[in-house]
Amino acid sequence: MELMNENKKMQQLIGSTLRIGVMTACCIAVLGGAYYLICHGSEPVPDYYKFHGEPSSLTSLSGIFGGLLHLKAANWIQLGVLVLMLTPITRILLSLFDFAHQRDWLYVTITMIVFLVILSNSLGGIL
């Protein structure tokens, strides 16, 4: 019964994390987006019809965070995207702690593998 309650608590926590993460990301995107429209709303649409790739100020962590301080609207939107991406990752870490707490080492290993795949991918993604 104890374990059942623990499981229920974890389900609630994971559920809330997902909801709060998505809502935070969406709020940042709304604010950043509104600010983006104030700055660039009357300009013509950028050339999305051919792929150029976004500049490095919008594709790397240092670039994105650097632009936040200079109040660049596009960077604030990217922050929203980053928070959105962190939501499932946070969920993985929560599960990791939960499995460790239950002393379920098999699932600690499984969760760790998933986390490492994502981590190595984000480090190696620049290649």
């Binding site: 389900q11 594709t59 939107i77 795949v117």
Partner: protein, 277 residues
């Protein structure tokens, strides 16, 4: 066209895409790609970036409720995420050298598979005898039904795992959740109850999409000017869709939409073969 008008039209289209995705059960990302490429003529790369954002947002948003209700099998999802994330990494690498027109054709084929899966009759497996491996991995679970908690067992872990690898590759390549393949792996191969399959698939989509999103954002696929209208619109549309689903019977509506999706799929394949992307 100014950025302002572009953004407003994009938010409205994304809202419809999210609504369509949630009413048909196809997911947010799938509808975003044809809308951006066919209606707006936006480059396929940017469309993939936007679809990833949409997939993560809708998956995490709706998974939240199912996890709380205890329908999602978290262990099963976690275990299969090994396959989908590794697959997604592979897919993102393949996308580097594969021509966009071929990616468009593959996308059309996945769309057809997805629609076909929606038409299928949903019958739950009864008296499944679970395999030894599934028991060792603690994949058996329970889920709430009208008559209280119901226990289930599952089988063919290897088969399900391989199909998940494929689902991961497609997610990485196309930026979509490929929920249909995930459900196929759990429902058809592993004999997991349908409700558990769909909710666990939804739960896994966020993590799978993130595994490739970390690559795509660094390659410059995610344009802020497209990402924010898509995120807001798709999320709003799918929340509205979830409300509608509770209130009215959408069987007929769903059939019309699935038919519309089939037409879109044919259009994508045709344009891909003609080299329009």
């Amino acid at each position: 066209m100014t950025v302002l008008t572009f953004t407003i039209i994009l938010i409205c289209s994304a809202f419809l895409a999210g609504l369509l995705g949630s009413l048909t059960g196809l997911g947010g990302g799938v509808v975003v790609i044809p809308v951006l490429t066919l209606c707006f003529n936006i480059d396929f790369h940017y469309a993939i970036g936007a679809a990833l954002v949409a997939s993560i947002a809708t998956s995490s948003g709706s998974a939240s409720a199912y996890v709380k209700e205890g329908i999602t099998n978290i262990r099963l999802g976690m275990f299969l995420e090994i396959a989908t994330t590794i697959g997604a990494v592979g897919g993102a690498i393949i996308a580097l050298w594969m021509p966009t027109n071929i990616i468009a054709v593959i996308f059309g084929l996945v769309l057809i598979l997805t629609s076909a899966m929606q038409m299928r009759r949903k019958v739950d497996h009864t008296n499944v005898v679970g395999s030894e491996l599934a028991r060792k991995l603690k994949l058996y679970g329970t889920y709430p039904t009208k008559d209280g908690e119901k226990k289930y067992e599952l089988t063919n872990v290897g088969g399900g795992f391989s199909v998940m690898l494929g689902a991961g590759v497609l997610s990485g390549l196309l930026g979509i959740g490929s929920g249909a393949l995930k459900v196929l792996a759990m429902d058809a191969a592993m004999k997991v109850p349908f409700k558990v399959s769909t909710t666990t698939s939804n739960f896994m989509i966020g993590v799978t999409a993130v595994a490739s999103a970390v690559v795509y954002i660094q390659r410059g696929y995610i344009a802020p000017g497209i990402a924010f209208p898509i995120m807001i619109g798709v999320l709003g549309g799918s929340l509205f869709g979830a409300r509608l689903l509770k209130r009215l019977d959408v069987t007929v509506l769903r059939k019309i939409f699935v038919f519309a999706i089939l037409l879109v799929a044919i259009n994508m394949i045709y344009n891909g073969i003609m080299g329009k992307f």
